[in-house]
Subunit: 434 residues, 2 copies
Amino acid sequence: MNIPQSDKKRIVIIGGGFAGIALANKLRNKNAQVVLIDKHNYHTFQPLLYQVATGGLEAGSIAYPLRKVIQEYEDFYFRLTSVKDIDTKNQKIISEIGDLHYDYLVIATGSKTNYFGNKDIERNAMAMKTIPQSLNIRSLILENFEQAVLTTDQAEKNALMNFVLVGAGPTGVELAGALAEMKKAILQKDYPDLDISKMQINLIQAEDRVLNTMSEKSSAAAERFLTKLGVKTCIGVRVTNYDGRIVTTNANVSFETATVIWTAGVQGAPIAGLNSDALVERVNRIRVNEFNQVKGYDNIFALGDIASMETVEYPRGHPMMAQPAIQQGKLLGENLIKLIKSKPMKPFKYKDKGSMATIGRNLAVVDLPKYHFSGVFAWFVWMIVHLFSLIGFKNKAVVFLNWAYNYIRFDREGRLIIRPYKKRSFVTFTSDEV
Amino acid sequence: MNIPQSDKKRIVIIGGGFAGIALANKLRNKNAQVVLIDKHNYHTFQPLLYQVATGGLEAGSIAYPLRKVIQEYEDFYFRLTSVKDIDTKNQKIISEIGDLHYDYLVIATGSKTNYFGNKDIERNAMAMKTIPQSLNIRSLILENFEQAVLTTDQAEKNALMNFVLVGAGPTGVELAGALAEMKKAILQKDYPDLDISKMQINLIQAEDRVLNTMSEKSSAAAERFLTKLGVKTCIGVRVTNYDGRIVTTNANVSFETATVIWTAGVQGAPIAGLNSDALVERVNRIRVNEFNQVKGYDNIFALGDIASMETVEYPRGHPMMAQPAIQQGKLLGENLIKLIKSKPMKPFKYKDKGSMATIGRNLAVVDLPKYHFSGVFAWFVWMIVHLFSLIGFKNKAVVFLNWAYNYIRFDREGRLIIRPYKKRSFVTFTSDEV
């Protein structure tokens, strides 16, 4: 990997998500050599992926160059690659660009979509965990409408305008709301030759309420908001299959649709090479102790979504979201410095700051640890928290400007098919065109 | 194509570039049915493609949804497709989504890269006429540096850091300047483990000066600015081949490089089906009279880059740039309305508003018809003209914000590899990752 030898201990961080970045910040100009590895050259602000998918924001507004994060950090290195294996005996990682020795290894690879083993769904549904995936969804939505304009077959038209979202966690709820707003504010005007009232947004939730990790009050408010926006919710219904055309369920409903977006499950994205008892098989997470040390290893750590720290309060590990990742990353930074100095480490204690979801303009729900509220004020809180959580001044400013414009004009100008998703038979590109 | 029949005359416009949009605007709510066809669902502001390629702007900032352009126009239709053929006898176009009858046909398909028949160059060099192409260049530049970090072979490192730009028209000059600024302000900081002083930007021009369509004064200033920024210019040198590694020329110089960007020629992008004497073979443009009527046809018109209107002042047709396209589009809009009303059409007279190019911060050249100037003031003029030429308030605001940020911070945060260009062996993506 062409990393220079150094007298300092080498800390290798795999993953530049919330956890990896928080850790890197803490290790800035400390007595260690740090190598940050990611398969993208940018950090993704995942909470706003749904706005990229629905044309409200450009991809670049929620991405931040990883090399810029560590630009002025001494003895810091970035490498763009995928890590394939860990050789714990020889303390090295095996990647597509070569091996690398580590003194301390931190696995912060995050999570990926969980299809619970259903290959049909995996093949036919869209996922939304990365920027390229979000851009694919954006293209597919628009391509569906371009195709619906052309067909005279009403069943085909309806299938193209039927959007089935599986999973009503924050991602599913936010995406459903954004699609409903697109329908009203944009698609109706953009496609005067289509009967847009036929467009359906179906949100399917296997659990007994939407946003089932939030308070019951917030769930109820969110469901009210969704209904108000025209989203149809199917509660307590489990999707059993999707063959590319028909969604089947365990209930007496099925859907004919060209588009299924699957946000019904996440699982860890682990790396091969660890002892099998370090792995929580059900969700592919890595078992860690209160110092985020991987079970069975002194010098390997796991952070964030991939880490399962089983505590009394969180017997199945912390929720797979940004806050635990950031808090663990920060603490591990301090602990690694202590470890190098042979001082005792501090155990992790999660500080729950609450959670929130936005459904549409002026419509959001916020659960603070002791107080739950919804509506316009919640929506403001949601915006401010997300704006300030973005990395970099420029991204903050551009996102703010887009939001202000979209709010005032009821518009989303990112409805651009820059990377076509469908292999359309009706448009072929020559080498000069793509 | 599923366009409703109407009593009004049907005008079909192929291409949503500067000419097509200007024409569509003029035909708004007039006594005609209008069908606008493009192979992208967005208009591209081509003069700023080089900033997308060098990470200064996001693609979405210089693209504008075509459906939004015609959103409130009565009896206007948009279709996303490529037109393959024209059946002039039966007055219909043949596209990948079906045929369409026209009463009046307007060809505004613009231009594409001209490799002058060299297949090696076409295969190995990068073009920059579309947004996807610009994003490919952006990825390639960054991928080169990620690869250069890994190799210990100095020749390989140098080839990866050597950028050869062929053609010193405005596009080549602006791209060379932007690369030089990236080198100084970004790459040096982003890649501390590389000797960025080894990065080369070579600009090769077959003609006897850079910007040879501008005044000699502006050429001289531009060349001075380029030299100041560290760009090496090779004047009077013609590239004869590029095999993917070595650029050969007709002079005593050759270049070892992983990246050639070809801006040395454009040609029209015509459609099959017209009489052969309507075609200017050398540049693939379509011969038109002073009403932009295609030679040999009463009801077929061509506009902008694709149209060659041979006049005393412009014996080889107007320059292939935005201004003639816009002016012709506007006039044809008025003329078509006259034609429908059986009134006489007005001949086209090109009003040369001048031309300009920016080389770097505070460095630009402007040729007004009677006055040529360069430097900071020219740079301001360049910015204001380009800002106001962008379609849409949001794009103007976002571009302005980006420029202000980039200027103050000497930065370009769009250095994101969102669509990898190289088929890198060192990163493979699984279905969930891309």
